[in-house]
Symmetry: C2
Subunit: 226 residues, 2 copies
DNA sequence: GCAAAAGTGTTCAATGTACACCCATGC
DNA sequence: GCATGGGTGTACATTGAACACTTTTGC
Protein backbone atom coordinates (compact mmCIF):
# COMPACT_ATOMS: atom_id res chain seq x y z
CA UNK A 1 0.00 0.00 0.00
CA UNK A 2 2.94 2.28 0.51
CA UNK A 3 4.38 3.79 -2.63
CA UNK A 4 6.19 6.80 -1.27
CA UNK A 5 9.63 6.37 0.19
CA UNK A 6 9.41 9.43 2.38
CA UNK A 7 6.99 11.04 4.71
CA UNK A 8 4.95 13.87 3.42
CA UNK A 9 3.58 16.34 5.89
CA UNK A 10 0.48 18.45 5.54
CA UNK A 11 -1.53 20.84 7.62
CA UNK A 12 -5.31 20.47 7.78
CA UNK A 13 -7.42 23.18 9.28
CA UNK A 14 -10.76 22.92 11.01
CA UNK A 15 -12.22 26.36 10.31
CA UNK A 16 -15.24 27.06 12.46
CA UNK A 17 -17.69 29.88 12.43
CA UNK A 18 -21.13 30.76 13.64
CA UNK A 19 -23.59 31.37 10.88
CA UNK A 20 -27.35 31.32 10.88
CA UNK A 21 -27.17 30.62 14.62
CA UNK A 22 -25.37 27.37 14.00
CA UNK A 23 -21.83 26.16 14.41
CA UNK A 24 -20.48 25.57 10.92
CA UNK A 25 -17.27 24.28 9.42
CA UNK A 26 -15.66 25.23 6.13
CA UNK A 27 -15.35 22.32 3.73
CA UNK A 28 -13.89 22.04 0.25
CA UNK A 29 -15.08 19.56 -2.29
CA UNK A 30 -12.03 17.75 -3.58
CA UNK A 31 -11.30 18.22 -7.28
CA UNK A 32 -8.97 15.27 -7.61
CA UNK A 33 -8.13 11.82 -6.36
CA UNK A 34 -7.93 10.48 -3.78
CA UNK A 35 -11.45 11.04 -2.53
CA UNK A 36 -12.39 13.07 -5.60
CA UNK A 37 -15.72 14.87 -5.10
CA UNK A 38 -15.73 14.13 -1.37
CA UNK A 39 -15.76 17.00 1.06
CA UNK A 40 -12.66 17.67 3.12
CA UNK A 41 -11.34 20.24 5.53
CA UNK A 42 -8.89 22.63 3.88
CA UNK A 43 -5.26 21.59 3.92
CA UNK A 44 -2.03 21.58 2.05
CA UNK A 45 1.56 20.47 2.09
CA UNK A 46 4.09 22.05 4.37
CA UNK A 47 7.04 23.61 2.57
CA UNK A 48 10.52 22.62 3.59
CA UNK A 49 11.52 25.98 4.98
CA UNK A 50 8.25 26.92 6.56
CA UNK A 51 7.34 26.47 10.17
CA UNK A 52 4.10 24.76 11.05
CA UNK A 53 2.11 27.79 12.14
CA UNK A 54 3.19 29.65 9.02
CA UNK A 55 2.14 26.76 6.84
CA UNK A 56 -1.26 26.76 8.50
CA UNK A 57 -1.58 30.51 7.99
CA UNK A 58 -0.56 30.22 4.37
CA UNK A 59 -3.01 27.42 3.64
CA UNK A 60 -5.71 29.32 5.43
CA UNK A 61 -5.03 32.37 3.32
CA UNK A 62 -4.84 30.43 0.08
CA UNK A 63 -8.18 28.78 0.70
CA UNK A 64 -10.10 31.57 2.34
CA UNK A 65 -8.25 34.78 1.56
CA UNK A 66 -8.46 35.66 5.21
CA UNK A 67 -5.58 36.64 7.48
CA UNK A 68 -5.03 37.24 11.12
CA UNK A 69 -7.56 34.97 12.66
CA UNK A 70 -7.34 32.72 15.64
CA UNK A 71 -5.33 29.61 14.86
CA UNK A 72 -4.16 26.89 17.20
CA UNK A 73 -2.43 23.56 16.67
CA UNK A 74 -4.69 20.64 17.49
CA UNK A 75 -3.15 17.23 17.11
CA UNK A 76 -1.02 15.29 14.66
CA UNK A 77 -2.52 12.34 12.81
CA UNK A 78 -0.24 9.82 11.20
CA UNK A 79 -1.86 6.50 10.70
CA UNK A 80 0.02 4.93 7.78
CA UNK A 81 -3.28 4.05 6.10
CA UNK A 82 -4.99 7.37 6.51
CA UNK A 83 -3.92 8.49 3.04
CA UNK A 84 -4.02 6.00 0.17
CA UNK A 85 -0.74 5.04 -1.46
CA UNK A 86 1.45 7.44 0.43
CA UNK A 87 2.64 8.20 3.90
CA UNK A 88 1.14 11.55 4.74
CA UNK A 89 1.27 12.82 8.28
CA UNK A 90 -0.96 15.78 8.98
CA UNK A 91 -0.62 18.41 11.65
CA UNK A 92 -4.13 19.64 12.32
CA UNK A 93 -5.09 23.15 13.36
CA UNK A 94 -8.26 24.82 14.29
CA UNK A 95 -9.27 28.32 13.35
CA UNK A 96 -12.12 30.61 14.30
CA UNK A 97 -13.49 33.17 11.92
CA UNK A 98 -16.34 35.63 11.66
CA UNK A 99 -18.31 34.20 8.81
CA UNK A 100 -18.98 37.57 7.24
CA UNK A 101 -15.22 38.18 7.10
CA UNK A 102 -15.07 35.46 4.51
CA UNK A 103 -16.55 35.90 1.09
CA UNK A 104 -16.98 32.41 -0.21
CA UNK A 105 -17.23 33.66 -3.79
CA UNK A 106 -13.77 35.17 -3.50
CA UNK A 107 -12.44 32.07 -1.87
CA UNK A 108 -14.01 29.80 -4.41
CA UNK A 109 -12.86 32.03 -7.25
CA UNK A 110 -9.26 31.28 -6.42
CA UNK A 111 -9.78 27.61 -6.97
CA UNK A 112 -12.16 25.71 -9.11
CA UNK A 113 -13.31 23.75 -6.17
CA UNK A 114 -16.58 24.02 -4.37
CA UNK A 115 -16.19 25.60 -0.98
CA UNK A 116 -18.97 25.84 1.54
CA UNK A 117 -20.04 26.09 5.13
CA UNK A 118 -21.63 22.99 6.64
CA UNK A 119 -23.42 22.62 9.92
CA UNK A 120 -21.32 20.45 12.20
CA UNK A 121 -24.45 18.49 13.04
CA UNK A 122 -25.28 17.70 9.45
CA UNK A 123 -22.15 16.70 7.67
CA UNK A 124 -21.54 14.83 4.44
CA UNK A 125 -19.08 11.95 4.41
CA UNK A 126 -15.63 13.41 4.72
CA UNK A 127 -12.41 12.41 2.98
CA UNK A 128 -9.55 10.71 4.81
CA UNK A 129 -9.82 10.84 8.60
CA UNK A 130 -11.20 14.35 8.43
CA UNK A 131 -14.26 13.49 10.45
CA UNK A 132 -12.02 12.52 13.34
CA UNK A 133 -10.01 15.73 12.98
CA UNK A 134 -13.17 17.80 12.93
CA UNK A 135 -14.52 16.10 16.05
CA UNK A 136 -11.24 16.77 17.76
CA UNK A 137 -11.46 20.43 16.77
CA UNK A 138 -14.91 20.82 18.22
CA UNK A 139 -13.85 19.16 21.42
CA UNK A 140 -10.94 21.58 21.68
CA UNK A 141 -13.15 24.58 21.03
CA UNK A 142 -15.48 23.58 23.86
CA UNK A 143 -12.58 23.05 26.23
CA UNK A 144 -11.15 26.44 25.30
CA UNK A 145 -14.44 28.16 25.85
CA UNK A 146 -14.63 26.88 29.42
CA UNK A 147 -11.67 28.88 30.54
CA UNK A 148 -10.81 31.42 27.90
CA UNK A 149 -12.99 33.96 26.13
CA UNK A 150 -12.32 32.64 22.62
CA UNK A 151 -15.86 33.54 21.68
CA UNK A 152 -14.74 37.04 20.82
CA UNK A 153 -13.06 35.58 17.76
CA UNK A 154 -16.50 34.79 16.40
CA UNK A 155 -18.24 38.06 17.17
CA UNK A 156 -18.07 41.56 15.76
CA UNK A 157 -15.99 44.02 17.74
CA UNK A 158 -19.07 45.32 19.49
CA UNK A 159 -21.81 42.95 20.45
CA UNK A 160 -24.71 42.56 22.83
CA UNK A 161 -24.76 40.22 25.79
CA UNK A 162 -27.46 38.19 24.09
CA UNK A 163 -25.25 37.72 21.05
CA UNK A 164 -22.46 36.58 23.33
CA UNK A 165 -24.75 34.16 25.10
CA UNK A 166 -26.01 32.73 21.80
CA UNK A 167 -22.40 32.14 20.78
CA UNK A 168 -21.75 30.15 23.92
CA UNK A 169 -24.98 28.24 23.51
CA UNK A 170 -24.24 27.30 19.93
CA UNK A 171 -20.72 26.12 20.72
CA UNK A 172 -21.67 24.19 23.83
CA UNK A 173 -24.90 22.99 22.26
CA UNK A 174 -26.87 23.80 25.39
CA UNK A 175 -29.12 26.49 26.82
CA UNK A 176 -27.78 28.89 29.40
CA UNK A 177 -29.58 30.90 32.05
CA UNK A 178 -29.70 34.54 31.03
CA UNK A 179 -29.20 36.08 34.47
CA UNK A 180 -26.40 33.74 35.50
CA UNK A 181 -24.66 34.16 32.17
CA UNK A 182 -24.69 37.95 32.39
CA UNK A 183 -23.60 37.98 35.99
CA UNK A 184 -20.71 35.70 35.20
CA UNK A 185 -19.54 37.58 32.13
CA UNK A 186 -19.71 40.95 33.82
CA UNK A 187 -17.91 39.65 36.90
CA UNK A 188 -14.99 38.43 34.78
CA UNK A 189 -14.06 42.04 34.15
CA UNK A 190 -13.10 41.41 30.55
CA UNK A 191 -15.84 43.46 28.94
CA UNK A 192 -15.95 47.11 28.04
CA UNK A 193 -19.39 48.62 28.40
CA UNK A 194 -20.53 51.30 25.95
CA UNK A 195 -23.21 53.94 26.02
CA UNK A 196 -24.17 52.73 22.58
CA UNK A 197 -27.18 50.59 21.91
CA UNK A 198 -28.42 48.58 19.01
CA UNK A 199 -30.89 50.47 16.86
CA UNK A 200 -34.08 48.77 17.71
CA UNK A 201 -35.76 46.65 15.09
CA UNK A 202 -39.09 46.70 16.87
CA UNK A 203 -37.93 45.93 20.40
CA UNK A 204 -35.91 47.37 23.24
CA UNK A 205 -32.36 48.41 22.16
CA UNK A 206 -29.55 46.36 23.69
CA UNK A 207 -26.36 47.72 25.19
CA UNK A 208 -23.14 47.07 23.30
CA UNK A 209 -19.99 45.62 24.79
CA UNK A 210 -16.54 44.74 23.55
CA UNK A 211 -13.79 42.57 24.96
CA UNK A 212 -11.06 44.42 26.76
CA UNK A 213 -8.05 43.74 24.58
CA UNK A 214 -5.43 44.36 27.27
CA UNK A 215 -7.03 42.00 29.75
CA UNK A 216 -7.60 39.32 27.12
CA UNK A 217 -4.01 39.56 26.06
CA UNK A 218 -2.73 39.43 29.63
CA UNK A 219 -4.88 36.42 30.47
CA UNK A 220 -4.54 34.40 27.30
CA UNK A 221 -1.78 35.82 25.16
CA UNK A 222 -4.27 36.39 22.34
CA UNK A 223 -3.75 39.55 20.40
CA UNK A 224 -7.06 40.96 19.34
CA UNK A 225 -6.63 41.82 15.75
CA UNK A 226 -9.46 43.84 14.38
CA UNK B 1 20.90 25.70 5.71
CA UNK B 2 18.58 23.13 4.26
CA UNK B 3 20.28 20.11 2.77
CA UNK B 4 17.50 17.57 2.82
CA UNK B 5 14.91 17.58 0.11
CA UNK B 6 12.26 15.92 2.18
CA UNK B 7 10.79 16.18 5.59
CA UNK B 8 11.96 13.77 8.17
CA UNK B 9 9.71 13.07 11.08
CA UNK B 10 10.70 11.96 14.55
CA UNK B 11 9.06 11.33 17.87
CA UNK B 12 10.61 12.75 21.03
CA UNK B 13 9.39 11.63 24.40
CA UNK B 14 9.38 13.51 27.67
CA UNK B 15 9.61 10.65 30.16
CA UNK B 16 8.81 11.79 33.67
CA UNK B 17 9.05 10.01 36.96
CA UNK B 18 9.18 10.71 40.64
CA UNK B 19 12.40 9.67 42.25
CA UNK B 20 13.99 10.75 45.49
CA UNK B 21 10.88 12.86 46.09
CA UNK B 22 11.60 14.92 43.01
CA UNK B 23 10.13 15.19 39.54
CA UNK B 24 12.75 13.86 37.16
CA UNK B 25 13.08 13.47 33.43
CA UNK B 26 14.98 10.82 31.51
CA UNK B 27 17.77 12.24 29.35
CA UNK B 28 20.23 10.62 26.99
CA UNK B 29 23.63 12.04 26.26
CA UNK B 30 23.99 12.19 22.53
CA UNK B 31 26.75 10.05 21.04
CA UNK B 32 26.89 11.80 17.69
CA UNK B 33 26.47 15.07 15.88
CA UNK B 34 24.52 17.25 15.89
CA UNK B 35 24.75 18.28 19.51
CA UNK B 36 27.22 15.49 20.32
CA UNK B 37 27.65 15.08 24.09
CA UNK B 38 24.64 17.27 24.83
CA UNK B 39 21.74 15.82 26.75
CA UNK B 40 18.49 15.25 24.92
CA UNK B 41 15.13 13.68 25.52
CA UNK B 42 14.84 10.25 23.94
CA UNK B 43 13.60 10.15 20.37
CA UNK B 44 13.87 8.47 17.06
CA UNK B 45 12.65 8.47 13.49
CA UNK B 46 9.18 7.33 12.60
CA UNK B 47 9.07 4.41 10.20
CA UNK B 48 7.04 4.71 7.05
CA UNK B 49 4.46 2.10 7.97
CA UNK B 50 4.19 2.88 11.65
CA UNK B 51 1.57 5.03 13.27
CA UNK B 52 2.65 7.78 15.58
CA UNK B 53 1.67 6.19 18.87
CA UNK B 54 3.39 2.96 17.85
CA UNK B 55 6.53 4.86 16.94
CA UNK B 56 6.51 6.48 20.34
CA UNK B 57 6.02 3.13 22.03
CA UNK B 58 8.81 1.58 20.03
CA UNK B 59 11.26 4.39 20.77
CA UNK B 60 10.29 4.24 24.40
CA UNK B 61 10.95 0.51 24.50
CA UNK B 62 14.24 0.78 22.62
CA UNK B 63 15.55 3.39 24.99
CA UNK B 64 14.12 2.21 28.27
CA UNK B 65 13.12 -1.42 27.79
CA UNK B 66 9.80 -0.58 29.37
CA UNK B 67 6.37 -1.29 27.92
CA UNK B 68 2.80 -0.43 28.70
CA UNK B 69 3.18 2.89 30.37
CA UNK B 70 1.14 6.02 30.06
CA UNK B 71 1.89 7.83 26.82
CA UNK B 72 0.16 10.84 25.34
CA UNK B 73 0.84 13.02 22.32
CA UNK B 74 1.90 16.52 23.28
CA UNK B 75 2.55 18.86 20.41
CA UNK B 76 4.34 18.92 17.08
CA UNK B 77 7.39 21.12 16.66
CA UNK B 78 8.53 21.99 13.19
CA UNK B 79 10.60 25.11 13.06
CA UNK B 80 12.77 24.71 9.96
CA UNK B 81 15.84 25.68 11.96
CA UNK B 82 15.27 23.46 14.95
CA UNK B 83 17.51 20.74 13.52
CA UNK B 84 20.75 21.71 11.78
CA UNK B 85 21.06 20.97 8.07
CA UNK B 86 17.82 19.05 7.71
CA UNK B 87 14.11 19.51 7.95
CA UNK B 88 13.06 17.40 10.88
CA UNK B 89 9.59 17.75 12.28
CA UNK B 90 9.08 16.11 15.65
CA UNK B 91 5.89 14.86 17.20
CA UNK B 92 6.43 15.05 20.93
CA UNK B 93 4.92 12.73 23.50
CA UNK B 94 4.96 12.56 27.22
CA UNK B 95 5.21 9.41 29.27
CA UNK B 96 4.90 8.62 32.95
CA UNK B 97 6.80 5.80 34.55
CA UNK B 98 7.48 4.35 37.98
CA UNK B 99 11.20 4.91 38.27
CA UNK B 100 11.84 1.53 39.81
CA UNK B 101 10.24 -0.08 36.77
CA UNK B 102 13.19 1.14 34.78
CA UNK B 103 16.65 -0.29 35.31
CA UNK B 104 18.94 2.31 33.85
CA UNK B 105 21.79 -0.17 33.57
CA UNK B 106 19.69 -2.35 31.31
CA UNK B 107 18.60 0.66 29.30
CA UNK B 108 22.12 2.00 29.02
CA UNK B 109 23.47 -1.45 28.19
CA UNK B 110 21.48 -1.48 24.99
CA UNK B 111 23.19 1.59 23.73
CA UNK B 112 26.57 3.04 24.42
CA UNK B 113 25.03 6.30 25.41
CA UNK B 114 24.78 7.73 28.84
CA UNK B 115 21.25 7.67 30.11
CA UNK B 116 20.15 9.29 33.32
CA UNK B 117 17.42 10.87 35.37
CA UNK B 118 17.67 14.62 35.89
CA UNK B 119 15.68 16.80 38.21
CA UNK B 120 13.46 19.05 36.14
CA UNK B 121 14.61 21.96 38.26
CA UNK B 122 18.28 21.37 37.64
CA UNK B 123 18.79 20.64 34.00
CA UNK B 124 21.86 20.74 31.79
CA UNK B 125 21.67 22.53 28.46
CA UNK B 126 19.55 20.43 26.17
CA UNK B 127 20.00 19.67 22.49
CA UNK B 128 17.72 21.11 19.80
CA UNK B 129 14.52 22.64 21.16
CA UNK B 130 14.22 19.95 23.78
CA UNK B 131 14.01 22.38 26.62
CA UNK B 132 10.86 23.81 25.08
CA UNK B 133 9.42 20.33 24.59
CA UNK B 134 10.18 19.41 28.17
CA UNK B 135 8.54 22.55 29.50
CA UNK B 136 5.51 21.77 27.42
CA UNK B 137 5.40 18.26 28.86
CA UNK B 138 5.48 19.50 32.42
CA UNK B 139 2.75 21.97 31.69
CA UNK B 140 0.61 19.20 30.26
CA UNK B 141 1.24 16.95 33.24
CA UNK B 142 0.06 19.65 35.62
CA UNK B 143 -3.04 20.29 33.56
CA UNK B 144 -3.83 16.59 33.48
CA UNK B 145 -3.41 16.26 37.21
CA UNK B 146 -6.03 18.92 37.81
CA UNK B 147 -8.80 16.85 36.39
CA UNK B 148 -7.64 13.31 35.96
CA UNK B 149 -5.94 10.99 38.41
CA UNK B 150 -2.82 10.45 36.29
CA UNK B 151 -0.79 10.23 39.48
CA UNK B 152 -1.54 6.53 39.69
CA UNK B 153 0.82 6.05 36.80
CA UNK B 154 3.66 7.08 39.07
CA UNK B 155 2.77 5.07 42.16
CA UNK B 156 2.88 1.38 43.04
CA UNK B 157 -0.43 -0.44 42.79
CA UNK B 158 -1.05 0.02 46.49
CA UNK B 159 -0.04 3.24 48.15
CA UNK B 160 -0.75 5.39 51.18
CA UNK B 161 -2.57 8.68 51.08
CA UNK B 162 0.60 10.42 52.14
CA UNK B 163 2.44 8.94 49.15
CA UNK B 164 -0.35 10.13 46.92
CA UNK B 165 -0.20 13.59 48.41
CA UNK B 166 3.57 13.77 47.98
CA UNK B 167 3.12 12.85 44.32
CA UNK B 168 0.72 15.72 43.82
CA UNK B 169 2.99 18.08 45.70
CA UNK B 170 6.04 17.17 43.67
CA UNK B 171 4.23 17.56 40.36
CA UNK B 172 2.51 20.79 41.25
CA UNK B 173 5.56 22.06 43.11
CA UNK B 174 3.48 23.24 46.02
CA UNK B 175 2.40 22.13 49.49
CA UNK B 176 -1.09 20.80 50.02
CA UNK B 177 -3.21 20.68 53.15
CA UNK B 178 -3.37 17.13 54.50
CA UNK B 179 -6.98 17.16 55.63
CA UNK B 180 -8.32 18.85 52.55
CA UNK B 181 -6.33 16.60 50.28
CA UNK B 182 -7.61 13.42 51.93
CA UNK B 183 -11.17 14.63 52.01
CA UNK B 184 -11.02 15.49 48.31
CA UNK B 185 -9.43 12.23 47.24
CA UNK B 186 -11.81 10.09 49.24
CA UNK B 187 -14.82 12.05 48.01
CA UNK B 188 -13.86 11.39 44.39
CA UNK B 189 -14.77 7.76 44.90
CA UNK B 190 -11.90 6.51 42.79
CA UNK B 191 -9.95 4.79 45.57
CA UNK B 192 -10.22 1.30 46.91
CA UNK B 193 -9.55 1.07 50.63
CA UNK B 194 -7.77 -1.98 52.03
CA UNK B 195 -7.50 -3.49 55.47
CA UNK B 196 -3.79 -3.65 54.83
CA UNK B 197 -1.32 -1.29 56.37
CA UNK B 198 2.29 -0.44 55.81
CA UNK B 199 4.58 -2.33 58.15
CA UNK B 200 5.67 0.36 60.46
CA UNK B 201 9.24 1.51 60.34
CA UNK B 202 9.10 3.11 63.75
CA UNK B 203 5.87 5.02 63.32
CA UNK B 204 2.17 4.46 62.95
CA UNK B 205 1.27 2.16 60.04
CA UNK B 206 -0.63 3.79 57.19
CA UNK B 207 -3.63 2.37 55.41
CA UNK B 208 -3.13 1.25 51.82
CA UNK B 209 -5.29 2.29 48.90
CA UNK B 210 -5.40 1.58 45.20
CA UNK B 211 -7.12 3.29 42.32
CA UNK B 212 -10.36 1.73 41.20
CA UNK B 213 -9.55 0.55 37.70
CA UNK B 214 -13.12 0.47 36.45
CA UNK B 215 -13.89 3.99 37.55
CA UNK B 216 -10.61 5.33 36.20
CA UNK B 217 -11.26 3.70 32.89
CA UNK B 218 -14.82 4.98 32.72
CA UNK B 219 -13.77 8.51 33.58
CA UNK B 220 -10.58 8.82 31.59
CA UNK B 221 -10.31 5.92 29.18
CA UNK B 222 -7.01 4.91 30.76
CA UNK B 223 -6.47 1.22 31.09
CA UNK B 224 -4.57 0.49 34.23
CA UNK B 225 -1.89 -1.90 33.25
CA UNK B 226 -0.11 -3.39 36.17
C1' DG C 1 7.69 8.17 77.48
C1' DC C 2 8.91 10.28 73.29
C1' DA C 3 9.60 10.97 68.44
C1' DA C 4 7.37 10.54 64.03
C1' DA C 5 4.00 10.07 60.84
C1' DA C 6 -1.20 8.84 60.51
C1' DG C 7 -5.54 10.23 60.96
C1' DT C 8 -9.64 13.24 61.72
C1' DG C 9 -14.05 17.98 61.49
C1' DT C 10 -15.70 22.45 61.54
C1' DT C 11 -16.14 27.12 60.03
C1' DC C 12 -16.12 30.47 56.46
C1' DA C 13 -15.88 32.34 51.79
C1' DA C 14 -16.62 31.97 47.06
C1' DT C 15 -18.81 30.14 43.33
C1' DG C 16 -22.51 28.06 40.76
C1' DT C 17 -27.55 27.23 40.14
C1' DA C 18 -32.39 27.87 40.16
C1' DC C 19 -35.88 30.89 39.37
C1' DA C 20 -39.85 35.32 37.63
C1' DC C 21 -40.90 39.75 36.72
C1' DC C 22 -40.57 44.65 34.84
C1' DC C 23 -38.67 47.69 30.90
C1' DA C 24 -38.15 50.02 26.44
C1' DT C 25 -39.28 50.05 21.94
C1' DG C 26 -41.89 49.73 17.18
C1' DC C 27 -45.88 48.85 15.30
C1' DG D 1 -51.82 48.45 23.99
C1' DC D 2 -49.36 44.56 22.83
C1' DA D 3 -45.67 41.74 21.22
C1' DT D 4 -40.72 41.23 21.47
C1' DG D 5 -36.43 40.81 23.27
C1' DG D 6 -33.58 43.48 27.12
C1' DG D 7 -32.56 43.75 31.63
C1' DT D 8 -32.32 42.72 36.74
C1' DG D 9 -31.66 40.10 42.33
C1' DT D 10 -32.17 36.73 45.89
C1' DA D 11 -31.98 32.25 48.18
C1' DC D 12 -29.77 27.88 48.34
C1' DA D 13 -26.36 24.30 47.51
C1' DT D 14 -21.77 23.03 46.44
C1' DT D 15 -17.06 23.52 46.57
C1' DG D 16 -12.61 25.06 48.15
C1' DA D 17 -9.62 26.96 51.99
C1' DA D 18 -8.00 27.62 56.56
C1' DC D 19 -6.79 25.56 60.64
C1' DA D 20 -4.85 21.93 65.49
C1' DC D 21 -5.12 18.10 68.01
C1' DT D 22 -5.26 12.94 69.03
C1' DT D 23 -3.64 8.18 67.76
C1' DT D 24 -0.53 4.43 66.89
C1' DT D 25 3.63 2.54 66.61
C1' DG D 26 8.98 1.42 67.42
C1' DC D 27 12.49 2.36 70.02
Amino acid sequence: MMESKTHEVTVDIVILTIRKKKLEVLLIQRGQEPYKDKWAIPGGFIRLTENLDDAAKRVLFEKTHVKDIYLEQLYTFGDPYRYPNARVITVSYFALIRSDDLKLEAAAGLNIQQINWHSVYNLPDLAFDHRQILDYGMKRLRERLEYTPVAFQLLPRKFTLTQLQRTYEVILNTDLDKRNFRKKMLSLGILNEYEEFTKASSKRPARLYSFNDEIIKAQTGFVVDI
